[in-house]
Symmetry: C2
Subunit: 235 residues, 2 copies
């Protein structure tokens, strides 16, 4: 709506960018879960090679599961939208009185007088397509989804997950002793989580330093827990 005309509201505008949302979803799990898994295995397994295999398997599994999950939820959203549009068109044609009641109810809820409720409803009901659009958006709260959204979401999320996951895993490619590789992985990943958290927070309009610390802490806690749990099960 008028969001993009609203000075100082750039954050909320940017926030709604689907591409950025996808990258944030994929990258935050991609940086965190393979990192924590590799750290956890480093507590139980001495050789890096097994950790590389587990890490690669996790990145393949996670990126496909999240990417296809994004695809599926995009498709579901589209199906849901089309079936609701059909229903609203049907109701506008065949249950006109009921739709008029619901439209009046909307105007009553936002605080308009009986007189203006009547008049506004009458004006909206003149153009059936516009009326259906109005009901979709404000009665049901549904925005028209982009038809290519599902495919885009799958690719954005999946690729971001792979990019995020390669970072914590890369030291294990080059350093054969897992406890050594872990040190580099921790430093590199926490630094990337901090930078990622910083930009993510700026985009969503939250305090950037505090947001960066929160994101970094999540990664550190998940890795420490995985390390501890793997140590317990090793014995």
């Amino acid at each position: 709506m008028a969001t993009n005309l609203h000075h100082g509201h750039e954050e909320s505008h940017l926030k709604s960018s689907d591409f950025i949302k996808d990258v944030v979803i994929g990258m935050s799990d991609g940086l965190t879960v393979p990192f924590a898994l590799a750290a956890g295995l480093s507590g139980a397994v001495g050789s890096s090679s097994i950790i590389v295999i587990a890490g690669i398997a996790e990145i393949a599994a996670g990126s496909i599961a999240m990417g296809l999950g994004g695809y599926l939820s995009g498709k579901t959203e589209q199906d849901h939208y089309s079936s609701e549009v059909k229903r609203e068109h049907h109701e506008v044609e065949n249950l006109r009185e009921k739709e008029i009641e619901e439209t009046k109810e909307f105007f009553a809820n936002i605080g308009l007088s009986e007189e203006i409720q009547e008049k506004a409803t009458e004006e909206i009901a003149r153009d059936k397509d516009r009326w259906v659009d109005f009901m979709m958006k404000y009665e049901l709260g549904l925005d028209k989804p982009d038809p290519r959204r599902a495919t885009k979401a799958a690719l954005n999320i999946g690729i971001s997950y792979v990019v995020g996951g390669i970072i914590p895993l890369s030291p294990y490619f080059f350093i054969p002793v897992s406890s050594e590789a872990l040190k580099y992985s921790v430093v590199a990943t926490l630094a990337c989580l901090f930078i990622f958290g910083y930009f993510k927070s700026r985009i969503t309009g939250v305090n950037a330093i505090w947001g960066a610390i929160r994101v970094t802490l999540i990664g550190a806690v998940a890795a420490a827990a995985a390390f501890g749990v793997a140590k317990i099960f090793e014995h």
Copy 2:
């Protein structure tokens, strides 16, 4: 809004239940990713014990990362809402003309005449709190978040992930040869994914059998990819 009064719209009402949404988020990744990881490792590692350790580390890492991620996004939503409410209150008090313009613009966009735009705006602007509520919801598209939402989301998502992840992993606890354990894991997990997909689809109002097949396929594809990738890196 009127969604729950709307006959036949129970699906969209149920769909918005936050608890169910959380369980679906946690359980779909919990069933899929540890399953695919264990399957992938079974292609490269003969002994179940290493797969149990990796699986447990992944479940700890994944549940904490997703749970805390849910907490963080709940908190961010709250912070964003409060800062926008403050801004709208400030604008209603100090930039009245601009807010009146924006309110008129909303009514113009939904298709009302100049006359009704004026009158409706005048009526809404009489009660400042109501006016702010209106701007939050329909200009910015923000709903008031539940203050305990962040904590609830963290627990619901995290626990669902653990419950989902235990299922594919459990055969590896009892069967020491990983390729043997994999068979039981595949059967148990695909069956659970099918049942889970069935109920998830019924809740979101999509065709249930087709939805169940889609969810099961995602898990199978992710597991097969992880298995293949781990086999390649083993050599």
